[in-house]
Amino acid sequence: MIEAKNVSKSFGDNLVLDEVSVKFEPGKCNLIIGQSGSGKTVLMKCLVGLFEIDSGKVLYGDRVFSKMSFDEMKMIRQEIGMLFQGGALFDSMTVEENVMFPLSMFTNQTPAEKLERANFCLSRVRLENANKLFPAEISGGMKKRVAIARAIAMNPKYLFCDEPNSGLDPLTANVIDILISEITREYNITTVVNTHDMNSVIEIGDRISYIHKGKLWWQGNNESILKSDNPELNEFVFATELTRKLK
């Protein structure tokens, strides 16, 4: 379980997160939704310690993550897999080297074992035959899938995905959603997913937190979200014709 307690974060006088408290449970896909610029990425980066929070706490189980030194964080980070919004693949490495990178750093596996694990992860994101290509040589959606493969390479206990299916076609997006929800259950991972894609919300939203104006505005799941009477949430959820038809 990951918990944020009264987390606030501002950049200059731009208050992005205002006393946000939220829990993320293991074995579930915990979704953070909200409009573009609402602070989803900032919240996720606060959770993993890439941004220092101004006040509040971040807990991993009973470990107070937000107060840790770099070396203490290191231990927890080896249990974290993260998919960045832009992929963040290492562009000097091939696809398979990218996926093997965390393994090379923290395991004593032989090259053959690492390769086998990398191939397994790549096949889970349906990406075979691209092993030897460089990030500059593959499409945006393929990059995203390689980044997911890298994020799951170490069998993480905590998985963070920042917009895993933005820029993907509906079919691939759905494959990714299902993959994330499958491994979450299979390995009892605490998964946190940022998204503004209503398809994902309906498909995998076990727990949904709606961020609005820097605050946690609403919480629920993929059933209650369609029945809420919160006006700001409804504006977000029923923004398109397709979702209006669901109602």
Binding site: K45, V48, L50, F70, M73, K74, M75, R77, Q78, I80, M82, F84, Q85, G86, A88, L89, F90, D91, F101, P102, M105, F106
Partner: protein, 215 residues
Amino acid sequence: MVEIDNLGLDSVGIVAFISTFMGAVLCIQMAFNIDTPLVPLYTIGFVTRQSVVLEFSPTIISLILAGKVGSRVASELGTMRVTEQIDAIEIIGINPATYLIFPKVVAAVLINPILILMSMIMAIFGGWLAGVTTGLVASSTYIYGIKAFFESYDIVYAMIKTVVFAFLIVSISGYHGFYTKGGALEVGTSSTKGVVHSSIAIIVFNLILTQLLLS
């Protein structure tokens, strides 16, 4: 090591080219400045060697490397920063500064002395080529000058400067690249800052080291 390749071998061509031509120019200038028979002609070789070893190769070539290597290091790290690759390294649990900058510093500190030695040889050769082909100085006279009053401490002094400059170039431009904020535009700014600041540092440390080592 990839870094040695990127930071060093890549610069062999430009260093050799500039050194040969500069050595040639030095030699010709010296020859034209000596117009009294009181100064022996081997002075041309001697002065060319001294200028090359003490100042031209370690300082000027380091400045050129600051432009080439510094901008490369700063823009590489800057791009990694703005595309979140540095964040990705940190998330995996690795200290990105140590992981990315340290090997580059080591590579430069190892490879630059070799480049500078090569530069010295090329410059002295360039001087010989110019002197002999223009008939300003005889080959044997020039070579006699090259060997005259040789002190090995001069080489030590040059190598100390080179190593310090190599460290300055990579750490300063690495710093600017690593702490880039923003996007492509800022990567350009970091790269410029890396080159300018490391060049200034070289000039300042050149004076300090010369004062410390030669006086």
